[in-house]
């Protein structure tokens, strides 16, 4: 397991990442870094390459060129099994929808990453219920995703992404399928819990309101970084006050 200490201010680094799908270039030499505890929004229009960048940073996709490092260790050259273990232990991954196992209860879904890491069932379920409670959905512990609203299911998904207390949380349009109110609830809770735990959050979104929950905003256009700014519409500090 890779441990991140305060001597490693840059927990995640990408250098000159290039990635294409067939003849279509998605990323053309993207570089960025995220410090421990950063909440970083990656924004840009549809097809700009922001989701591809997130998948490369999370070790889900392997870039065609460039380097991705986590805690000073290069991960893009590692085998799939090593990257898979990294995602299981050090990273949390959150998508727009469809990430929960529909047949399993909310508690089982949240406990699944712990079971995969060898934690005993009883302890995994206890931890899962605690995390569901932190996201205000403890009463859904025995329900299955199809029985939940979109917002409830996404809060369960956030709990699952954070249950292993990862160093980095990768979130790809986490509120894209939710209405404004449900989306705001998810973002408020996600950023609050991540900040409490010192988890770095990389948040892909095309929505300026969502980006406003971040400390930094990296704008991607046509596969290159166009800007690295503090979100304009609202400060991160203001959202911290929601908690």
């Amino acid at each position: 397991m890779t441990s991140v200490t305060h001597e490693d201010p840059e927990v995640l680094t990408a250098r000159s990442i290039v990635k294409s799908y067939g003849n279509s270039p998605a990323l053309r030499g993207v570089s960025l870094s995220a410090a421990r505890g950063d909440v970083l929004a990656i924004t840009g229009p549809s097809g700009s390459g922001k989701s591809t960048l997130l998948l490369c940073l999370a070790g889900i996709l392997r870039p065609d060129a460039g380097e991705v490092s986590f805690a000073g260790r290069r991960i893009d050259t590692e085998s799939e099994s090593v990257r898979s273990a990294l995602r299981r232990r050090e990273f949390g991954v959150l998508f727009q929808f469809g990430q929960l196992v529909p047949e399993m209860t909310a508690a089982e879904n949240v406990g699944l990453p712990l079971l995969l890491s060898g934690v005993r069932r009883r302890e995994a379920m206890t931890a899962a219920r605690l995390w569901l409670d932190r996201f205000g959905v403890a009463d859904l512990a025995d329900q299955r995703p199809p029985e939940m609203s979109g917002g409830q299911a996404q809060r369960v998904a956030v709990a699952r992404a954070l249950v292993t207390e990862p160093e980095v949380l990768f979130a790809d349009e986490p509120t894209g399928a939710l209405d404004t109110f449900a989306g705001e609830q998810v973002l408020v809770q996600l950023t609050r819990v991540a900040r409490e735990a010192g988890t770095t959050v990389l948040l892909v979104t095309h929505d300026a309101q969502v980006a406003a929950y971040a400390d930094r905003e990296v704008v991607i256009r046509d596969g290159v970084v166009e800007g690295d700014v503090v979100p304009a519409s609202s400060s991160a500090g203001q959202h911290r006050m929601h908690t």
Binding site: S51, L55, A58, I60, L61, S81, S84, A85, L86, R87, R88, R89, F91, G92, V93, F95, Q96, G98, Q99, L100, V101, P102, E103, M104, T105, E108, L112, P113, L115, L116, R120, R121, R144, R160, A161, D172
Partner: protein
């Protein structure tokens, strides 16, 4: 304008699907062709008259065994038809989206039903015509006699055959002569053609059944312009299948005892045969429905206690969709039930016949071959269900893999999902089949031999339980299922590809 979707347009829309639709149609064509071919061969065998032939396959030479051959061929059709039914689920999510798009474009529910039924009927029709073509071409290709040895079977009439033969004395003093003859023989009954109306009915049977099945399958589905809602029953009935199964098995197992106790004469009476058929159907329905109840029960029991992620995922899948298990295993369990019954019959026949006469042993080996083919075909249907299940859940699987779930865990989950209900249901089916055979044919056989003075001597032989054969049947079914389900894991690699996450 008639204001109604025409059949040509419906078929055009049915053919506008993607790769999975092509696979579904191709599998339906193949299954329908095999089913039609089996039915045509069965009709041919039943049409053989005593003066037809001779044939190199011994079983075709004896009129009394034709019914058995026909039953074997029709039983072979059960897994084949189940396979055709399971093929209808291949690419179902994509087809559902297409049907919803047709509704969004102004199609009525009737139009959607027409597209779905049209596809099934035309695909099955092409298969049926293909099966007929194979049958007719086979008659020509295999039609010329070859020089070979065949067994001429004639009832003993007091005149002894000139060549060496085996005589089987039976009660009443009338016997059968088995005489080895060398001469021109046909490999198959290519000299026999069923009546034309029978051929027409058999060629139409599977396409009509496929269309009806497709229409019935749409009964539980609401296709709105916004998507498809499947009205699935989550809780399968528990008491009804248990009652049906137990009544069927107990009645079959005690059939001979009861008829003997009440001194019911079974010879030449159709009622007992119909009663046996009805009891067999009761047992079968109980078994197939019971598979769903058993899957739900096992899933519900194992899931809360599962310590391994693969077992947890598999158990929850079983509990959430128990009818999926009965759909997948129904045909396989019927095949195991029949196979176990056949092993019981085999044990009975082998005890009651002359061991030096290989005729019955060869015939029974042929039956076992049919059972093996039926198990493989039924397990192929399982492959379709397993592969479809993986493809339908590809986004969820890709998300799990992206979150760090090893593909090995997902592989074990798929295999566990297949094995958990299979072991108990195949044991139940085997027990039921073996009990039925012993109950119908008895557990003892009275052998009568004649000494040189013509005096009969009787001794009672007990029919052994064919443990080895039953063990091979259960183990073979498990192994074949595991192997074929393992093939479905090939779909897992592509279904867990991160690119699936990009498809919203």
């Amino acid at each position: 304008m008639t204001g109604r979707l025409t059949w040509p347009t419906a078929l055009w829309l049915a053919a506008k699907g993607g790769r999975s639709d092509v696979v579904r149609i191709a599998l339906t064509v193949c299954g329908s062709a095999i089913g039609t071919l089996a039915l045509l061969v069965a009709a041919t065998v039943i049409s053989i008259r005593p003066d037809d032939g001779p044939y190199s396959i011994q079983v075709l030479e004896e009129q009394g065994l034709h019914v058995g051959v026909v039953i074997a061929l029709v039983l072979l059709c059960i897994p084949v038809l189940a396979f055709v039914g399971q093929c209808s689920r291949v690419g179902a999510p994509a087809r559902d989206r297409r049907l919803a798009a047709i509704r969004l474009a102004g199609g009525t529910p009737r139009d959607v039903a027409r597209v779905a039924c049209g596809e099934a009927a035309v695909a099955a029709g092409i298969g049926a015509v293909g099966g007929l073509a194979v049958y007719l071409v086979g008659r020509i290709v295999l039609g010329s006699p070859v020089l070979g040895t065949y067994t001429r079977i004639t009832p003993l009439t007091g005149v002894q055959p000139s060549t060496p033969s085996t005589e089987l004395p039976v009660e009443g003093g009338v016997g059968i002569s088995y005489e080895q003859v060398t001469g021109p023989v046909l490999r198959l009954p290519t000299d026999v053609l069923p009546p034309l109306w029978v051929v027409v009915v058999l060629v139409l049977l599977i396409p009509v059944a496929a269309a009806a099945f497709s229409r019935l399958a749409l009964r539980g589905v609401t296709i709105s312009p916004f998507g498809v809602i499947r009205h699935r029953r989550i809780r399968p009935p528990r008491l009804l299948p248990a009652i049906l199964f137990l009544v069927g098995v107990v009645a079959l197992a005690s059939f001979a005892t009861v008829t003997k106790a009440f001194d019911i004469d079974l010879s030449g009476v159709a009622a007992p045969a119909l009663a046996v058929l009805a009891l067999f159907l009761l047992t079968s329905v109980g078994l197939v429905l019971g598979t769903a109840a058993l899957a739900a029960g096992i899933g519900g029991l194992v899931a809360p206690r599962a310590r391994r992620p693969a077992v947890l995922i598999a158990a929850r899948r079983l509990a959430a969709d128990p009818f999926g298990a009965s759909r997948a295993f129904g045909a396989l369990m019927l095949t195991v039930l029949i196979g176990a019954g056949a092993q019981g019959v085999r044990a009975n026949i082998l005890v009651s016949t002359d061991p030096s006469n290989t005729f019955y042993r060869d015939t029974l080996d042929l039956v076992n071959l049919v059972i093996v083919v039926a198990v493989v075909v039924a397990a192929l249907g399982l492959l379709v269900v397993a592969a479809e299940g993986i493809v339908a859940r590809r986004r969820s699987l890709a998300a799990l893999t992206a979150a760090g779930t090893p593909v090995g865990v997902l592989r074990r989950a798929v295999l566990t999902e297949a094995l958990l209900p299979l072991l108990p249901t195949s044991l139940l089916a085997t027990t039921a089949g073996a009990l039925a055979a012993r109950g119908l044919l008895g557990t003892t056989f009275t052998e009568t031999t004649f000494d040189s003075a013509g005096q009969p001597t009787s001794r009672i032989l007990s029919v052994p339980v064919p443990w080895a054969e039953l063990g091979v049947l259960v183990a073979g079914t498990l192994v074949v299922t595991l192997l074929i389900t393992s093939v479905s894991l090939l779909f897992l690699r592509s279904s867990t590809d991160p690119s699936e996450l990009r498809a919203a």
